[in-house]
């Protein structure tokens, strides 16, 4: 079974903090994605990566950056967290079909 593991299930941070969300996959997939999920808006793509050290902006990249130093690990970085970044963050890996982690519910106070 494909396993996509997100490091934290719940996270509470303060406005202005730098936040790291970690994601690891065990299926040797080249493609990895970060989405955020908000009620009524579905899943919106923040960034994706199709290879180590490669990254592409998704539909809502503002306020975020990513890092992919190893094939199995894709990190999402909130440079200076703001309250409008309170959301559920979902990581996925893919060789065609998306496989999602269980998500990180981030609250920015």
């Amino acid at each position: 079974d494909v396993k996509v593991t997100q490091s934290s299930r719940y996270l509470v941070k303060r406005t202005g903090e730098k936040v790291f969300l970690e994601c690891v996959q065990d299926m040797d997939h080249e493609n990895m994605f970060w989405y955020r999920q908000d009620p009524g808006l579905g899943l919106r793509l923040i960034y994706f990566s199709y290879d180590v050290k490669m990254k592409e902006k998704g539909d809502i990249p503002e306020g975020y950056s990513v890092s992919r130093e190893k094939k199995e690990r894709f990190s999402l970085i909130l440079e200076s967290a703001s309250t409008n970044q309170t959301s559920m963050y979902l990581c996925a890996s893919s060789h065609g079909t998306l496989f999602f982690g269980s998500g990180t519910q981030l609250s920015v106070l």
């Binding site: 009524g40 579905g42 982690g101 998500g103």
Partner: protein, 111 residues
């Protein structure tokens, strides 16, 4: 700009009834149309998918109907069960691998 429009936002169906969720898309560059099912506390998981050269795909109680000319596709859940209560997302994938999601439909099946 929402490239995949999904309706309804929420749906209540009696046990044994048919659940129908509709989606419409605009971009003809999409080459794959999956549906994902999400239970509380879990990430979405692939339920069923269709390619645009096929008009219908059935897997057990789940059927996708696809109308390429109208740029619409729908999910039908036959004999709906309380265990089907979940949030359903339609999606469309660009040639390659970038996937765009609809806003989601919360389905509740009454026992």
């Amino acid at each position: 700009q929402q490239q995949v429009k999904q309706s309804p936002q929420s749906l209540i169906v009696q046990k044994g009834g048919i659940s129908i969720i509709n989606c419409a898309y605009e971009n003809t560059a999409f080459d794959y149309f999956p549906w994902y099912q999400q239970f509380p506390g879990k990430g979405p998981a692939l339920l069923i998918a269709i390619r645009p050269d096929v008009s219908e795909k059935k897997e057990g109680r789940f059927t996708i109907s696809f109308n390429k000319s109208a740029k619409q596709f729908s999910l039908h859940i036959m004999d709906s069960q309380p265990g089907d209560s979940a949030t359903y997302f339609c999606a469309a994938r660009f040639i390659g691998f970038k996937t765009i999601f609809g806003a989601g439909t919360r389905l509740f099946v009454k026992a």
